[in-house]
Symmetry: C3
Subunit: 355 residues, 3 copies
């Protein structure tokens, strides 16, 4: 049960694509890919720990990508790679290439007369590109995309349907932005003024590097005076909130529903779980790995793994734990008091014994 | 203070609609519905525990839906039902039927020549339907909806404005998808490759059953190789994130801002609160009830109620509790040490006494 | 490094704008604004605690807005204000006025024949305004906005691209609603009916006051029978969920990704952090300040600061703390048992000594 590949390929060809070494029949034809359990006799699959190698004896896959260490456990055709998952990604990209639409501006797109659309870009119906915007070679803007005044989209950017890019945002080449994401909306800044609030105009922008992917319905706010900055190769999942003046270092990945408050700086090569909340105005070192749902309230100055979640339990048990937590202060006081009394009593007893 | 119903109805007629037994005047005309406190002399309302029955003596409603148990506490016209809330839902659906637009494709819609639009479907201006998509009988696609290539929408689906459905997604009959929801975007999958990441193409799809409701701005990602699957009758609130290859069993309800990480399976008939986070690759049994904001990090193998939240408290008190929590490890060590010393002391004292 | 202002201004003019007192050269020309570190010789900046006043000796800004208290620490041109941040907001609004588009309905907008569009409103291409809707003076509806039947938009509202407003919603004057926000979708209400659920039609609406700002991709659901109500001057950040029948008092601010469950009432002048979760059917007093990520499960009856988050820690340490938390109940029982035994022992010892 696999999806047929757009094109078939020989195992020898895929060895080159995968940057892997061929073992077995180089002429063997691969027609698709599938997970180990579901793969059929002309599917390619891949194996990598922490999966148990037991599956290697059971899979019906036509060929596997695996590490040299596992080679002795598997008798079929194989591509041997130090990084089977990356090799598999390359094979997927080869067998199922992302569709590239024919270039041109469809009827029903609304393009400002002074916008610059590269002739090899594709603009679908229902897209609006405002004054002074630049859309470079190979960009693909799907229906419902709005590109504000003065925006620059680097070559090869794919904006899925409904993406909104506010005025002045700069996006590097080869970025993918998924449906209904919003880039460059005003940050959340208001000055208290008596009983009410005054709007802080956001005259900063957003700068996004190259090879960035941004998930559906995510938001990246513009800066107040300086720019919000997303580094090269950053991957952001769905429904993520990036506040004004945040800076995210290159090749950091951020899972769904995480929120980063204003003016926080996250280093490069971090891996951040889903539903994490970052306070504002803090700094996260390069190379931090943060478990999902954690609250990050202070600087993290050293790379490492961070966590902050109490897993749910059956409600009756949780209620008792929560009640205990609630009396922790009183309990510790009582223990300390008791410790003191008992120590005094022990000391009195010692003196008594000494008599 | 009630909204006038689209049509008025006699109490006898509504008894049938509500699948309830009439007590009182079947000719009594109901002109609208309202909450118990706000209902006027021609409004219908409903009563159900855990509300206090005191309100039954006070309400000015023209008629009530209630259970037989409460009938003695109320003297007015009544519809007697085992499930007053469900009966009330049926009455609301009857008095305020969802608008059904005239069929047809509006000027300003962009429909691929090889898309199949049923003549009784309604496609508004500003909708795009791509190649090979099938839109069945009675579907309603509002402005800004984008339906990708090869998508199938079952009969009677209502896609509110701005919903984006990526290529290949399959949606069963009678689904409602609220504004700006995104179905079928790529999941969050990248293979580490040296310092950077390689995109994992997502060749799987999304399959959604019948009678599913999906909230505004929610996201359901497509699978990597297999499909993401949403069962019949599932109800998903706003701003919910469903990761790639997730499977959700039938008639499960998920409240707002909850996130389900990739490859997790949630059983049927679960009730899941808001802002819950599910780790990836776990299994939740049928019939689990999970309190809002809980972290679900492991399998839940038995039905039941689960919880995992510490409620907020005044900040000064919270700071002490958080500080105590932070020293819990040291405190327990100290207690154990003290327990040991005291036991030794007691034992010494016993020996001493034995002398 | 500052963005040039749309217009330059003299310091004397800006003193009036800022409602501040001028000290120094009233003819001095301000060309832009910038943060203290980045400001150049013709930029205006502002200073306010909790920043350290050390920066006052170092900044190269052409002029500063500051408080009288700090005046002695700074020798340059200054605008003296009791509320420098508010004064700065006024200056920003003056130097960088929000763009106001030329009025008129663009070709490519779809306007119902019986919608009422004020001649001074601007409707861009790709906007749909349904039957009976009223769009007042100075409103600006950007591409992809959908305004449902019977909606009323007060004067001067700005709906950024892709905002969806469902039928019947009422919005007061001078509101800003950011891209892809959804106002008036059905709330999450279903009546259990055997194994499945019945949809509760939502015949209530949404009423939004004046001067409200709503962030990108946020959702405000309509009420079941009564309205969901957002008070004057409320500011709501991105990706916020407001459930059905919620009421939010005037000038309350709510940061990103917070969720408010149905029928909860939040008072006026509250300040609510990001990712906070409110249970349903609770009441929050006026003037509550709630830290980010807190769980609000019960009424907050008195104004004050509330908090409820355990900050993340290095994962090894966190695992030990979580394990201790998990055994808290057993530990407390053990302590109590031990306390009892020891008290008995002490009492026995006392009696022994008394012998």
């Amino acid at each position: 049960m696999s999806r047929s590949a757009t094109t078939s390929a020989s195992l020898a060809e895929l060895a080159q694509v995968a940057r892997a070494e061929l073992r077995g029949d180089g002429h063997f034809q691969i027609l698709g890919v599938a997970p180990l359990e579901a793969a059929g006799p002309h599917d390619l699959s891949f194996f990598q720990p922490p999966r148990s190698p037991q599956i290697l004896a059971e899979t019906r896959a036509g060929a596997l990508i695996l590490r040299e260490q596992e080679l002795s456990l598997y008798e079929g055709n194989a591509l041997v790679s130090r990084n089977p998952y990356a090799s598999f990604a390359r094979v997927l990209q080869h067998l199922y290439p992302a569709p590239r639409p024919a270039p041109g501006v469809d009827e029903g797109a609304w393009i400002a007369v002074d916008a610059h659309i590269h002739p090899a870009a594709r603009i679908e119906a229902g897209v609006r590109v405002a004054s002074g915007a630049v859309v470079e070679d190979g960009c693909w803007l799907e229906t419902g995309v709005v590109v504000g005044a003065g925006v620059r989209l680097g070559a090869g950017c794919h904006l899925f349907p409904g993406v909104k890019v506010y005025a002045g945002v700069q996006i590097g080449p080869n970025c993918s932005i998924h449906a209904n994401a919003v880039i460059g909306a005003d940050g959340f800044g208001f000055a208290p003024d008596g009983d009410a609030y005054l709007k802080i105009p956001h005259i900063g922008g957003v700068r996004i590097g190259r090879d960035v992917e941004i998930g559906a319905n995510s938001c990246i706010d513009r800066g107040v005076m300086a720019d919000t900055v997303i580094g090269d190769g950053v991957k952001i999942d769905n429904l993520v909130q990036i506040g004004h003046n945040v800076r995210i270092g290159e090749h950091t990945v951020i899972a769904g529903q995480t929120g980063v408050s204003g003016s926080t700086t996250i280093g490069a090569h971090c891996r951040i779980g889903g539903q994490v909340g970052f306070a504002g105005h803090i700094r996260i070192a390069d190379g931090c790995i943060i478990a999902g749902q954690s609250a990050i309230t202070h600087d993290l100055r050293t790379p490492g793994v961070y966590s902050g979640v109490l897993p749910a339990r059956p409600a009756r048990r949780w209620r008792r734990l929560a009640a205990r937590f609630d009396t922790l202060e009183e309990f510790v006081q009582r223990f300390k008091q008791w410790e003191k009394t008992a120590a005094a009593r022990a000391s009195a007893h010692r003196e008594e014994s000494d008599d």
